[in-house]
């Protein structure tokens, strides 16, 4: 297994698994509960795991070396800009009654933008800057 992937799984794996399990569990449970306060509380079950995942990601970023931190921060900045433009555009389209946007769409847009930004930044550093591109240049 790739060492970086192994480290990511060690750092964020438990939080990610808990997040996905709690989201699926909350979704299944919410369907069986009558609308009301209890259902709202059931829908909020994943919240602690979201906070845990955020804390795990930030801790991981802080432990990385300075170049990796720069790459990650650049990816986060690009992802923020991309998602901001898309969400604002969707909001304006909704104001113009073009179509209705669900709140859940925003989280999907943010996730997609984060993945896209990671690919863009890693590709840029690998192929344009050549930072990861010299595996044989180690002696």
């Amino acid at each position: 297994m790739n060492p970086q992937l192994r480290r990511y799984i060690a750092d964020c794996g438990p939080a990610s698994l808990t997040f996905f399990a709690s989201v699926i569990g909350a979704m299944l449970l919410a369907k069986r509960v009558e609308p009301g306060l209890v259902r709202l509380l059931v829908c909020l079950i994943p919240l602690p795991s979201v906070l845990w995942l955020a804390w795990a990601e930030i801790s991981r970023l802080r432990r990385r070396d300075e170049l990796r931190q720069r790459i990650e921060v650049e990816a986060i900045a690009i992802a923020f800009a991309m998602s901001f433009v898309i969400v604002v555009t969707l909001t304006f389209l909704e104001l113009g009654n073009a179509f209705s946007v669900q709140v859940s769409t925003v989280s999907l847009v943010m996730a997609a933008c984060w993945v896209a930004a990671q690919i863009i930044v890693r590709t840029r550093f690998r192929y344009w800057c050549g930072i990861f591109g010299n595996p044989t240049d180690s002696n």
């Binding site: 070396d65 170049l67 930072i131 990861f132 010299n134 180690s138 002696n139």
Partner: protein, 64 residues
Amino acid sequence: MNNHLRQLRADRGWSQGDLAEQLNVSRQTINAIETGKYDPSLPLAFLIAKLFKQPIEKIFDPAA
């Protein structure tokens, strides 16, 4: 910014991985510094200078 890191490392017979381990950074960071694609932070530059027992200005050349 140019630097003499590669030469200093080679003089000691260290690989990029060896140097990276001593400086507690990734091998990619050492590679990026050596090829001039990344300028290290001031703390890392001081750490490099301390490791090679040379002044910073002898390792890093700001004129380039």
